[in-house]
Every structure is written in C-alpha cells, then in structure tokens.
C-alpha cells in the first residue's frame, strides 16, 4: 500500500490555506505554506510548519505564478502541491507542469481539468453519459435551417444568444412558436451585421430555478457521492448561503442526481474531490447539468458537517495513491447544515468591498457551530484578494434547528473595524420564504429590491 505524503506545499491563502494546514497536521504531513509579502504575518503563515515568501502582493506574481510555486516546492522539498480553490486550482497547464516537474498535484490530471473546463466539451460528455443537460444546441449553430430545427426541439420559452455577442447584446427570449422564425432570422442577421458572425446558441430559458450541486470523491476506481448542497441563495451568481440537504429534493430525485454525477465522473476517469453542478427547474422538477468543478469548493464544510467526512484528508490520501477505505454504504447524511459566507463587503453600498483592519474579532461557539476563518483581532484585510473573511457553518438535527443556531451564532459573531455581510445573512435567514425552503435564485435580488423600496 502506498504511503501517505510526507510534505505538502499549500499554494493558497486565507481560510482555505488554514483548512488544508489543519488537515495536514492531523495526518502528520509537513505543511509548507507559500505566501505573498502582504500575507507574511497571516494566521496560515503562523500555523504552518514552514512559511515561504514567494513574491509580492499581486497574485499574478505570487499565488498565480507557476514558476515561483514549482521553484518553492523544489527548493523547500515538498512532495505535493495543494492548490485550494481559485488561483491555479483549475489550471490544466499548471497540473501538467507539476506532473512534468515530478510534483504531485492534489487534483485531477491536466487533461481531465481541460475537458471539464471546456463548457461545450463537458456538455457533450454529459450527454454521452446519459446526464441531462439544459435542452439546446451543442455549441454554436451558424445555419438558419439547423437553428430553426434545434429551436423547435428545445421548447419554450427559449433563449437565443449570438455566439460572438456578450454583455447582454445579441440576446432574445422567444416565448412561443409563432414568433420563432422571425425572431431567429432577425437575431442572426443582426449578429452578422454587428459581429460579422451569424452563429447563435439556443437554449431553454429557465427562470424559476434552484442551484443544486453534488459532492463526489473518487480515487480513480471507486467513485462515491456525498449528498447534495443547495446554493440557491445567491446574489449576482455569487453564492451567499449554502445548505445540505436541499429542501427541494425528494429521495428519488436525490438518487438520480447522485447517479448522474457518478456516471459523469466515471466517463472522464475522475480522481479527486469534485462537484457536479446542476440547475433544478422548480416548474417541471427536473435537473440539468451545467458544469463540473474539479477542485475543493468553498462550501465543502456543509457536506463535512452532515456526513462527518473530512474531504481535505480524503484529497490528500487519494493524492498519495491510497485507495478510499469507505464505501457508499458508509456515507450517511445526518441532520442539516448551513453555511454563511462572511464577506468584508457593505450591503448598504451595493456590496462594495470593505478592506481595512479588524479592530476586534470574536468567533461564535457552542454545539454544532464551526467557523473557518484566518482573521484575528488586529488583522488587516489586504485589498489584493477576494473579500471573504470567513465561513460560518452550523449543524442542526433538522433545518429549523440549523437556522435557529445560525441566527444565534451570527449574533455572537463580532467583526469590528470593517463592514461585513453578517447582518445581511440574518435578514435572509429571518424571512418566511427562506424558512419555508421554497424559493429560487432570484430570491435574494427580490429581497434587496423590496428593502430598497421600503426604505425610500
């Protein structure tokens, strides 16, 4: 049996760097944190076995700099690199480079990242594996007659998008068959004139949807699913609150979602922790594959809290070449977990980033409360990176208890000196709609519009 890695270089910062350091320590793996100049005094740098400065503040010159990361791994003798999320975590060239340099990349092989990173290719693989995708064209269609026949099969309402368009230009929603031919020919000739390319994407236009994703883990032979997470509470496609299990799924749908996700992983020979993302149509109660994330995700603790499984440790074991020692039967989802992303942003000012110095910090505590954060009293949030300062995760025996516990924990949380989204989370959790579990991806936007009109 292969031995566990002895040393891992952590190519990330903030709470996820700390999360990986903690897993390394519990497994007896030497943790080598690389950091930029501004992160030299950060909590991950203090708690890692070794901290190595690799460049200036700009991520391009430090956390996103492949040669600095590989150079540090060689010079400081790290067997593997854990990329965390963001930065180079889904960069196929970096995964290839690690392989060429004889360093283990904690993630799938470069070609798997490449396949899944290409939306059309991923959709094609999904269809071939029997995984439902949003009805529509596979890639761009340039012939009018072909576009018309695709559109007729898709169903209404549908969305036509100019392939060369962007930012809302060259887009049209078609509500019924009687205007389809006219709409399609107009948008294709407009696209020809505006962009010099008449090709369009055609897709079913879904509005009443939830975002549901399935956590998977595979050692390359055994692929397991660890239940879904519901990330419907979003603002401008940014997840705010995630929970598990989803209040919208029944046992049958959950099983089909799990089977679809496992089938997709098997089709590409997936190896690592991963997340298969779906949209769930509330109207027809059907799910469609959108993309797969080939990294550990921000919201992974939600799954950890309901399954009791440490996903980072499994990633490290798989990267060591050790086979999974659990089977699907061992995975049981117990109770309910919710995560609130605490961002240094001001909800009163359109969620503008609010960097600065945390004068005073107090983490909430008690039964079922977990706070993953790198901030401490006196910590200065640098303006160079993202605004997330921590994640508050609460477990309860059921959804109601989890909501009550999260509300209580948010009350206990103190982050003085910078503005955070903590109180905004309390507002969301306190709405009857969130409490009912019946909402869609527009829910937060509607809540914000409502509060604006009442305060005017």
């Amino acid at each position: 049996m292969p031995e566990l890695l002895k040393s891992v270089l952590i190519a990330n910062r903030g709470e996820i760097a700390l999360r990986i350091i903690r897993a390394c320590k519990e497994l007896g793996i030497r943790s080598i944190l690389v950091h930029s100049e501004v992160d030299a005094d950060s909590l991950p740098a203090v708690l890692a076995d070794e901290a190595v400065c690799i460049g200036p503040a700009l991520a391009k010159l430090s956390y996103r700099n492949p040669s600095a990361l590989i150079g540090a791994a060689h010079a400081f003798k790290a067997e593997a690199i854990h990329p965390g999320y963001g930065f180079l975590s889904e960069n196929a060239e970096f995964a290839d480079l690690c392989a060429r340099e004889g360093i283990i990349f904690v993630g799938p092989a470069g070609d798997v990242i490449r396949k899944m990173g290409d939306k059309i290719e991923a959709k094609k693989i999904a269809r071939e594996s029997g995984v439902p995708t949003v009805p529509g064209s596979l890639g761009a269609v340039s012939e009018f007659t072909e576009a018309l026949s695709v559109a007729r099969d898709v169903g209404f309402p549908l969305l036509i998008k100019a392939a060369a368009g962007g930012g809302g230009r060259g887009m049209r929603v078609v509500r019924a068959l009687d205007t389809l031919e006219r709409d399609l020919s107009e948008i294709m000739s407009e696209a020809e004139v505006a962009f010099g390319d008449a090709s369009v994407y055609i897709e079913r236009y879904l509005t009443d949807i939830r975002h549901i994703e399935m956590q998977v883990i595979s050692d390359g032979e055994t692929t397991l699913h660890l239940g879904e997470r519901d990330c419907t509470a979003q603002r401008r496609n940014q997840k705010l609150i995630e929970e598990a299990p989803s209040p919208a799924l029944d046992a049958g749908l959950r099983q089909s979602l799990a089977e679809a996700s496992v089938a997709l992983c098997r089709a590409v020979g997936y190896r690592n922790a991963g997340t298969v993302e779906f949209v769930f149509d509330n109207v027809e109660r059907k799910f469609y594959f959108i993309e797969m994330n080939t990294r550990i995700q921000v919201e992974h603790p939600v799954t950890e809290m309901v399954t009791g499984i440490d996903l980072i440790k499994l990633q490290l074991q798989i990267a060591s070449g050790i086979k999974l020692d659990i089977s699907q039967r061992d995975i049981r989802v117990d109770g309910h977990a919710i995560e609130c992303r605490i961002n240094a942003e001001n909800p009163q000012r359109g969620f503008a980033p609010s960097p600065g110095t945390v004068v005073s910090f107090r983490a909430p505590g008690g039964f079922g409360v977990r706070m993953d954060t790198h901030i401490t009293s006196g910590y200065t949030i640098p303006p160079f990176y993202d605004s997330m300062v921590g994640k508050l995760i609460c477990w309860g025996k059921d959804r109601n208890e989890a909501i009550a516990r999260m509300t209580r924990a948010l009350d206990e949380l103190v982050v003085e000196g910078v503005t955070t989204t903590a109180q905004f989370h309390k507002t969301i959790l306190g709405t009857p709609q969130f409490g009912s579990g019946v909402f869609n991806t527009s829910f937060v936007a509607q809540l914000l519009e409502g509060s604006q009109s009442t305060s005017d």
């Binding site: 100049e37 501004v38 030299a40 503040a57 600095a68 150079g71 010079a75």
Partner: protein
Amino acid sequence: MSSRSVDIKELKAIIDWVNVTEDIREFSLRFGDVELYVSRNEHASEGARPVPASASAAAPAAPAPAAAPQAAAAPPAASSVASSVTLAADEVVIKAPMVGTFYAAPKPGQPDFVAIGDKVSADSVLCIVEVMKLMNNIEAGVEGTVARILVSNEQAVQYGQPLMVIKRS
C-alpha cells in the same frame, strides 16, 4: 512610444529611485509585458493608517534587489521575510529576487563567485538563485566590498530574503 522591452538596468534604476523618494508609498508601472509593483507600506494599500512617527520605521519592505542607503539602520518591517539584517549607513543588502535555491559558485566544485572582503562592481555576479533549472545571476548593483554572506550554498531561499551585505565604496 518605443515598443522595445525594458532592460534590467532600467528596472533597477526605477526601483532605486522609488526607494529613495520618501513621498512614494506605492508605485506600479506597466511597460510592455513587464509589470512592476513596489510598496513601502507595512501592509500595502493601507492609506487610512497613520504614518509611523519615526522615519526609519517606514523602512521599505520593497521587493528591491538593493535597498537604498536611506533605509540604513532601520529595522525591517514586521512583514519582511526571513532574518532581519541590521545595516550600517554605507551598507546595502542584496535580497533574493525570487524563491529558489542559492548557489555560491557557478558550478559544483568551482570556486565561489565572491568571498567576504572581495571588491565588487555594480555588474559583478555575487551568486545564483536557481528556479526550475533556470540560473539567475544576482549582481551587486553597487560598487563596494562584500561585508557579509547570510546564506549557505544550496540553501533554499525565499522571495526577498537577504543574501549578502555589500559595503559601498
């Protein structure tokens, strides 16, 4: 405007100028595909914080290959990497411009580039920092004598780690 790329001498001159110009806290420059960012803030871009009372406390934690003599005798900022170096007024510290492995000699078995007491000129090679088998010659940047060598052969070095101290002539 010329599209030629900036050379290392020009970059060094710019960094030296930023280091001696006390009223510049942060500096960024884009020239073709070269991007340069220099900050003398303890925590960069932290404009709201009051300037430290003593001028020496604002010593540059700048990623400069050679710190300006004005920074002399100043303790490095809390966030500066590796061991702190105390400098006399006429001394300059040579820092690693990248993370990698330090080599004192051009090849194993050959004599070291420099020893303590050696006279060097601005373009004298002091050592190599190797990253991904790329050998980066580290030049003195100033004229003087080698006063201290702070790392040993084949040692792993961090970005910005002090490697040598040169006494200016």
